[in-house]
Amino acid sequence: MIELKSMRAGYGSEEILHDLSFTFESGKNYCILGPNGCGKTTLLRAMAGLIPHKGEVLIDGQRVESMKRRKIASKIAVMSQINTLYFPYTIYDTVMLGRYQHINRFSAGASEEDRRVVDRCLEMTGLVGLQNRMVDELSGGQLQRVFLAQTLAQEPDTILLDEPTNHLDIRHQIDLIEYLKGWTADGRHSVIGVMHDINLALRLTDETVFLKDGRLAGAGRFQRVATKPFLNSIFDMDISAYMLDALEKWKTISDTSSSEKP
């Protein structure tokens, strides 16, 4: 469970999130929606203790700034956007790095248990057979899956996702969401994700948190919160009309390929 109490955060002297209070319950998935610059990424980073904040951020009742990084890592993992890779590692070694907090500094290396977890994560993300490839030779989509596997190998309670589908084509986007749904199906894990694609976000979860200008604009099940006027005020456009318009186009798509047309 992650609780925010009158939380403020930003970069340097610029405050981006103002007085935010909300409770992310464990075992539930959430998506954070809102226009560019509303503070979605800042919220994720503050929740993981990656940037300083005012007010309170509590992880399972403990203040995040009082926790050791290892302790935070056992509860929360952040799957970040892809950085430039300067130094090549194999996929297997990269995923194994997710086990960092489980392996003692003075131990000889990975245990049976660590290897078993890594193998399972490679399997979940469809990377079996590729584990000896170097990460700097992969496509963006494969790399995203490697980082997902690394994040899963960390075995946190909650995964925070920041635009996880940036580099993925549509099939891989949906695959990723399906993996995450599978991972959270046991009710012990949860995902909190920042996503631009609302349709994709709703595939993962119905629980939505809307941000606008660094403030909480609304939260709860999408169907209940997201009325037409509400969405219009958040995004400054008629979202539902846009979606329906798109739907019309899809409805006219033919079932047969053009060469078969009379």
Binding site: Y89, Q101, S139
Partner: protein
């Protein structure tokens, strides 16, 4: 090729380099004689009559310590360069990025010009000054970077190091301009040389390299994670800020000690880590000891070339490391790049 096999190969090449380095020089000695002399000196016994006492002395008291010092220095600079590159997440970073060379050179210049000498151990005056100057500059760089940016981002650290390095360098230029008769000595110190290094120098370098390397081996997974970025390392559970300070500290200690005896030798610390990564992968658990082996061997070969190619004149070692290293580096680094994919 299996990593174990490569390791043995690198070890053999290292030993071979040491033997060759001891064997070749102004007084020609056969490999068999070299080994005999080493054996007699280590395990005792009498020298065979065909070996002149003087030759044995050259081998044991001059060449071997010089070669070992070259090996240890090369190892220290390479290991420290590898750590800097990973921690700062920059393939162009080296152990000199934080201004260690400027600080060391300035302090060495001041000591040379003022004629200051340590009591009891005057031969340590210049090295001590170089060491302290180098370490102080790095501490100032890191301290300033911490003040500018509480998260200690790499860009801040690198820029602070560079700016401070240039700032200190300006004083070095001024000092050099007024150095008069000492100019030659100053310039030579800045070019680097293993001339005149003895067993007592080895006795200082070896324990520091050993302790430094052992400490670094405790942080190999932190370094692995940090090459993926600070946030990824944080998220995986690494206390990034503290780890950065510890690792930069150890690596500065290695560089500071290395250059304090032999002066500024560039390039090794930049290219050996890249060559090692190509040959042994990026995992620091393997790469760091390998850096020591490869960097050490490379330095012996460079020193060998520097003192033999225009004998009896000795070329500046820094020039040789660059002349030999650049083409070799280009070959190692670019030969595998043909198949890189981007999308």
């Amino acid at each position: 090729m299996k990593t174990g096999l490569r390791f043995v190969l690198a070890l053999l090449i290292g030993l071979f380099c040491i033997l060759i380095g001891v064997m070749i020089g102004s007084a020609g000695i056969s490999l068999v004689d070299v080994i005999t002399i080493l054996k007699v000196n280590i395990f005792g016994g009498a020298l065979p009559e065909r070996i002149i006492k003087n030759t044995a002395n050259i081998i044991w008291s001059i060449r071997l310590p010089r070669v070992l010092c070259a090996f240890l220095t090369g190892a220290m600079l390479s290991v420290s360069g590898a750590v800097m590159q990973s921690v700062l997440r920059n393939p162009l970073a080296s152990s000199y990025t934080l201004g260690v060379s400027s600080g060391a050179s300035l302090a060495a210049a001041v000591v040379t010009l003022s004629g200051f000498a340590l009591p009891v151990v005057p031969f340590l005056s210049l090295p001590t000054a170089g060491f302290i100057g180098g370490i102080l500059t790095v501490c100032a760089s890191i301290g300033l970077a911490m003040r500018f940016d509480r998260n200690m981002q790499n860009v801040t650290i690198i820029l602070t190091g560079m700016v401070l390095g240039l700032f200190v360098n300006a004083f070095l230029t001024i000092t050099t301009a007024f150095s008069g008769d000492h100019l030659r000595m100053l310039v030579f110190w800045q070019m680097g040389s293993f001339e005149g290094l003895k067993w007592r120098n080895c006795a200082i370098l070896l324990p520091i390299l050993t302790v430094g390397l052992l400490l670094l081996q405790l942080f190999t997974r932190e370094m692995d994670l940090m090459t993926f970025g600070d946030e990824q390392a944080l998220s995986a559970g690494v206390d990034v800020k503290r780890t950065k300070v510890v690792l930069l500290g150890i690596s500065t200690l290695l560089t500071g000690t290395a250059i304090s005896f032999c002066g500024i030798i560039g390039f090794v610390d930049l290219i050996v880590p890249h060559i090692t990564r190509r040959l042994f992968g990026s995992k620091h658990r393997i790469a760091l000891p390998m850096n020591a082996l490869i960097g050490g061997s490379f330095m012996i070969v460079c020193d060998l070339i520097a003192r033999t190619i225009l004998a009896p004149r000795t070329l500046p070692i820094g020039a040789i490391t660059a002349i030999c290293g650049a083409p070799f580096f280009a070959w190692i680094y670019f030969r595998r790049r043909g198949g890189r994919r981007h999308d």
